[in-house]
């Protein structure tokens, strides 16, 4: 082994341990204690975890989060692929589309939240006004369906462009010969997509699914600004739930939720990766 290689990795390892590993271990440590403000923490083993598991407000937040993340994948990935396929391949049109698509990605989360808040606010927003014309009484602050739906649509608007850009780059890297071969082999449009485009996009799609899945768990500032997690707790996703617990100084409890949260994200990501890595490779045709 080349020992000097470790020397080059050292700065990275130091930064990683300071920024990720140590905080993570702190959280794990918290999760094993009862912590009251100003007093000595008391070691309680897995009691916090048991409490979290039994807590229906946690179960609801986790369920809400999983539904949200599933919807993100189910809608944003196919939509992203479709938009990427529809974009012009080259020329000025391509440049303009890419710039336009990039805009949502460049806007800070806070600004996104505020802009959408202005759009959807029941007294001054344009969305409720327009929907009222169609006879729909939209109210993001009070309606337990409108609120999560709005957050979801915001996320679609905000992050589908990322999927589009990834897929677009992936599509550009498929050599023409593959499409020409499919044409010569008499493949239909659907078969060309199914047997050329989709398999060739696999690496990019793995990336897109993992990024979107992990990021969807981080949704925080949008519900905070738009709905404050309400009405009720209908938009209190997992991040917001943890933050609320930490804010109320239930640090042991919040720590336990954080560890479970991390476990859920890592486990699902690993499963997705394993499934997608080998999905439809060299299918037997007989």
């Amino acid at each position: 082994m080349n020992n000097r290689a470790w020397l080059f990795l050292l700065p990275m390892l130091i930064i990683m341990s300071l920024s990720a590993f140590i905080p993570l271990m702190t959280v794990v440590n918290y999760s094993l204690h009862y912590i009251f403000s100003g007093s000595m923490p008391q070691y309680v083993g897995l009691a916090n975890y048991l409490e979290v598991m039994r807590d229906s407000s946690f179960q609801n937040a986790l369920g809400r989060q999983l539904i949200f993340s599933t919807m993100v994948l189910v809608v944003q990935i196919p939509l992203g692929i479709m938009i990427a396929l529809a974009l012009p391949k080259k020329g000025t049109g391509a440049t303009i589309s890419l710039v336009l698509l990039g805009i949502p990605l460049l806007i800070p989360y806070i600004v996104v939240g505020i802009v959408w808040r202005l759009f959807t606010q029941s007294d001054i927003g344009v969305v409720p006004k327009v929907l009222a014309l169609f006879g729909y009484a939209y109210n993001v602050a009070l309606d337990p369906i409108d609120a999560p739906l709005t957050i979801f649509l915001l996320d679609v608007w905000h992050w589908t462009p990322l999927v589009v850009l990834l897929c677009y780059a992936g599509l550009q890297s498929i050599p023409d010969a593959f499409y020409q071969a499919a044409q010569i082999d008499g493949a239909s449009t659907w078969k060309t997509f199914r047997y050329v485009t989709l398999p060739k996009l696999r690496p990019v799609l793995i990336l897109a699914v993992l990024l979107r899945f992990m990021d969807s768990f981080k949704i925080y500032s949008e519900p905070l600004l738009l709905t404050g997690g309400g009405p009720g707790s209908s938009t209190t996703y997992l991040s917001l739930f943890v933050a609320r617990k930490a804010e109320s100084y239930e640090l042991g409890y919040a720590g336990a939720v954080s560890v479970i949260y991390l476990f859920v994200v890592v486990t699902f990501s690993f499963i997705f990766f394993q499934i997608m890595k080998n999905l439809g490779k060299g299918e037997h045709s007989r």
């Binding site: 010969a177 020409q180 071969a181 010569i184 082999d185 989709l198 398999p199 490779k281 060299g282 037997h284």
Partner: protein, 365 residues
């Protein structure tokens, strides 16, 4: 199977060369006729339009003028699929998400051929290509040479394939396997009697593969069509002479006087058999002789020309020398045992029967 004919073929396109710059590319007034069931090589330098021509034959692009005929029938307006043409690309194209069997069966499935017929045909083709062992393997995991076989297999699996077009199919193949794969191509071509058009810039590939070689020049024109032997021994133009052979034919500007060929720096007598008519045509001739036919001697001989040895390349089997006299540089292939030294003189002789004479880009002798 089909004969392929191009009539007054015309195609242009603009290639983007960066901001604002375009370079237009053009193939004009091209006429070719290739016989049915032949192994044909389309040989030319990179960028001469070989691939464009091939894509036009397969229908991937539509020419701006002229017509394409298969067996005398105009197919210019037909789609790729309707032409029943197969194409093998430079980079092996296989469908990664299928196994080899699925790849071979794919064109037939698209044509809705019955299942048992597909099975029979896949096995037959796999047998011809000697890839029976690979049928169950994921196509994406094969080595390039085997991928290229699968790619060829997809091409020939349709019983009504009119022609197989191969676009530099050996470029990315491991050199050791190139020879085997080329033999396989040739064998398949013979066995099935398929019209195969093989595009390459490698003369060795072209000459060893083909019954008929068509040479395209840089300006997108057909320079010559003929058997490998004809191409080598009877080049129609200096371009063909220079392009074929390694090294290519020596071409020197000369004029003809009453005493012989005048090269400014030296002169040689007129070869026997060169008729008076040709001789009276004046100057601006191009004199051609292949390096392997240049005779060389370490000592001065009567009537032989003194050249200076500039470079000696020893191949082990023979030596290639670059010789210089005045403004002229020629190459000569000389026997391995001749102890030539750079910067020393070497006397050369051009045997009459190997002299070629061109004027205005045409062979005159």
């Amino acid at each position: 199977m089909a004969s392929i004919e191009l009539k007054d073929f015309y195609h242009t396109y603009d290639a983007r060369m960066g901001k604002g710059e375009t370079s237009s590319f053009c193939i004009e007034n091209l006429n070719i006729k290739w016989g049915d069931g032949k192994a044909i090589a389309l040989l030319g330098p990179s960028g001469c339009g070989k691939t464009t021509l091939l894509n036009a034959i397969s229908g991937l692009i539509h020419p701006k003028g002229g017509s394409i005929l298969f067996n005398g029938q105009d197919v210019t307006a037909l789609s790729t699929k309707e032409r029943h043409v197969a194409q093998v690309f430079q980079f092996p194209v296989v469908y990664d998400s299928m196994d080899v069997y699925g790849n071979l069966a794919f064109p037939l499935k698209n044509d809705r051929v019955p299942r048992n017929e597909i099975d029979r045909r896949v096995k037959e083709i796999a047998g011809i290509l000697e890839i029976e062992d690979l049928l169950e393997l994921p196509a994406g995991n094969l080595i390039p040479a085997d991928k290229q076989k699968v790619s060829l297999g997809r091409g020939i699996i349709r019983p009504d394939t009119a022609a197989v077009l191969l676009d530099e199919p050996l470029t990315v193949i491991d050199p050791k396997l190139q020879w085997t794969l080329r033999r396989k191509l040739k064998q398949v071509q013979r066995q099935l009697g398929i019209t195969m058009v093989y595009v390459t810039h490698d003369q060795h590939e072209a000459l060893t593969f083909a019954d008929i070689v068509t040479i395209m020049s840089n300006d997108g024109k057909i320079a010559q069509t003929g058997t490998p032997e004809e191409i080598h021994n009877d080049p129609y133009t200096p371009f063909v002479g220079y392009f074929i052979g390694s090294p290519g034919m020596n071409i020197m500007e000369c004029s003809i006087t009453s005493t012989g060929f005048d090269f400014d720096d030296f002169a040689i007598p007129i070869p026997v058999g060169l008729n008076e008519q040709t001789l009276s045509a004046g100057d601006n001739y191009q004199f051609g002789i292949r390096p392997e036919f240049v005779q060389a001697s370490m000592e001065s001989r009567d009537g032989w020309l003194p050249f200076t040895i500039e470079i000696v390349e020893d191949t082990g089997a023979y030596k290639i020398t670059t010789l210089k006299a005045g403004k002229h540089k020629i190459k000569a292939r000389i026997p391995e045992e001749m102890p030539v030294v750079e910067n020393n003189p070497l006397w050369v002789h051009f045997p009459d029967k190997h002299i070629k004479l061109f004027q205005g880009n045409k062979r005159v002798f």
